[in-house]
């Protein structure tokens, strides 16, 4: 249990709310929608105050003019796609309702399934229906809770394109919750990272996820290897320094950062940034070539997670084809190849 304590502003365009499960992203979304009542603070869209604890103002959900796409989509199973779309348009004449529903159905390419029920259309069509339904009422803000996680990449991309296109003509803030790195880079104009109820980073995706400052953020951003190290050499003239890892003889050349000789540092490396070789490589630009032994190989979907012992334990991601081509088995001698700039110095 923790407290969700957030202060942020989201401009028009897509702001990603990123973080591990249980970090409070969905709660934040639900607070904006009014489905959850915060204990203190305020929430406003432009000049419209939705919630203000000090004045007691708490606008009911139905008056907030938010569009919300739920994680489970929450399409009304007993209504057709068309009726789902017109559900929120009740205070307009029937002709107008139908027109607007058809128009948005075309924007999101679901006009051919308007008469069908949600259980009779594909996953991608359901997602687009949920999206269209939330946008047809012209909300002031769009809230999306992991809307694309169940879809394949190609379908995701097309829906993201539709959303972007819609956003250029309807300029509103969009808050998009996800825990997948891919979606952050594919979508985000800005990303806000949440961890245990607090914002730990806020900026453009590249800054926040590729250059994590804090170890907590590094773990969230997918740096599987984080080591305690000691600075052994500083080379300010070339912008690098050397560290030994985990009290072993394993030494890495890393980008220059704060830390005097002998000072402790934390070094983070992504498992996907490490190359493996089954014989000592020559003629490479990489500055870190470390000898080790394969301890284990574990297939996880399209990736093989290899654990390699070099004196410290590294996690390396390779493809199953690579495992086969290199003849990798537990116990085999391997060499790890790590670029200097794949190593990040993080604050503990």
């Amino acid at each position: 249990m923790f407290t969700l304590d957030v202060t942020m502003t989201a401009p028009s365009g897509i702001t990603i709310l990123f973080g591990p499960s249980g970090s409070g992203k969905s709660t934040l979304l639900r607070s904006v929608a009014g489905l959850v009542r915060p204990d203190a603070g305020s929430i406003a869209i432009g000049n419209r105050i939705l919630f203000d604890a000090s004045s007691g103002r708490d606008l009911p959900v139905r008056q907030r003019r938010v569009g919300y796409v739920f994680q489970q989509l929450a399409l009304f199973p007993h209504l057709s796609v068309g009726d789902n779309l017109t559900y929120g348009l009740r205070d307009r004449p029937v002709g107008v309702r139908r027109e607007q529903a058809c128009a948005i159905a075309e924007s999101f390419r679901i006009q051919h399934v308007l008469a069908r029920r949600p259980d009779a259309i594909s996953g991608g069509e359901r997602q687009r229906t949920a999206l269209a339904r939330s946008l047809v009422t012209n909300p002031d803000v769009l809230l999306l809770d992991e809307p694309l996680s169940a879809l394949d990449h190609a379908t995701q991309s097309r829906i993201i394109d539709d959303l972007r296109a819609w956003n250029t003509s309807h300029v509103i803030p969009i808050l998009y919750v996800t825990h997948a790195h891919r979606e952050v880079f594919a979508l985000g104009d800005r990303v806000v990272v949440l961890d245990r109820g607090r914002i730990v980073a806020n900026g453009i995706p590249h800054e926040v996820l590729d250059l994590p400052e804090h170890e907590g953020l590094a773990r969230i951003a997918g740096f599987e290897n984080v080591f305690d190290g000691v600075v052994t050499e500083r080379r300010p003239d070339v912008g690098t320094m050397h560290c030994t890892l985990g009290g072993s003889a394993t030494e890495l050349e890393v980008p220059l950062a704060r830390g005097e000789l002998g000072a402790p540092v934390r070094v983070a490396v992504r498992a996907g940034d490490i190359l493996l070789a089954n014989e000592a490589p020559r003629g490479l630009s990489a500055r870190n070539i470390i000898h080790g032994r394969v301890v284990s190989l574990l297939r996880e979907g399209p990736t093989v997670v290899a654990r390699v012992d070099t004196g410290v334990s590294f996690v390396v991601h390779v493809t199953p084809a690579a495992v086969e081509a290199l003849g990798l088995v537990p116990g085999r001698q391997v060499w790890l190849i790590i670029k200097t700039y794949s190593c990040r110095i993080v604050l503990a």
């Binding site: 009911p60 959900v61 938010v66 569009g67 739920f70 929450a74 009304f76 559900y87 929120g88």
Partner: protein, 224 residues
């Protein structure tokens, strides 16, 4: 064959079921969605008729509507005669007695709903009433109908409460269950057999019809 008694019973059951349809919906809705800490007490009260001997309920109803009670006196002032041992008294007693049979299936159906559907309805601008009419009710249709049918069937078969509160007056409060009892007591087994069988056949037809209708496509399961 005591047609008067059969007609009386059917009228009673139909009237009680109709009244309970209106009464039980808000009760069931509140029981499902309220977070009040005292809710358990209300649930217990609603469920009482399931465990109380009919004679206990009948006794208390009689006390509550007797000629010396406030309700009884009010009724006498309105209509010129007592409330006890009338058809109206049977309706009142049956409403109390069949209440849990209406409320519980409805409440169970509401509880099975996907809550995100209710949230979605709210974000799309619908208030509580609209959400109830357009989302909750259609998706709980089976439970509501089950409540309707069960309260009808339960009222049809009542004996103890009806005897105590109604007093077995032919054409007024002599329901078919009591008529059969009377016929057996007076050794008219043939008559009892015919009446009982008629009730059995009728009840079966009603139930079978309703369960057959529940197969209709609009009774969609609310969970994805």
């Amino acid at each position: 064959m005591d047609w008067t008694a059969i007609a009386l019973s059917v009228r009673l059951a139909a009237l009680v079921a109709a009244i309970l349809l209106v009464l039980a919906l808000p009760i069931a809705y509140w029981l499902t969605f309220s977070r009040w800490r005292g809710k358990f007490a209300v649930e217990a009260v609603v469920a009482l008729p399931l465990v109380l001997p009919p004679t206990v309920l009948g006794f208390y109803v009689l006390l509550a509507i007797g000629s010396r009670s406030p309700i009884g006196r009010l009724w006498t002032a309105w209509t010129g005669h007592g409330l006890a041992f009338t058809f109206e008294a049977l309706v009142l007693a049956s409403m109390l007695y069949s209440l849990p049979f209406a409320v519980q299936p409805m409440s169970a159906a509401f509880a099975q709903l996907d809550h995100s559907l209710l949230d979605a309805s709210a974000t799309l601008g619908a208030g509580t009433w609209r959400t109830f009419a357009r989302v909750v009710l259609p998706l709980s249709a089976e439970g509501v109908i089950a409540g309707l049918v069960l309260s009808f069937a339960h009222t049809l078969g009542e004996f103890g409460v009806v005897l105590m509160v109604g007093g077995n007056l032919p054409g007024v409060t002599r329901t078919v269950s009591i008529a059969i009892y009377d016929q057996v007591q007076s050794l008219q087994y043939d008559a009892a057999n015919r009446t009982a069988f008629a009730l059995l056949a009728f009840s079966f037809l009603v139930l079978a019809l309703v369960y057959a209708l529940l197969r209709k496509p609009w009774a969609v399961a609310p969970l994805r």
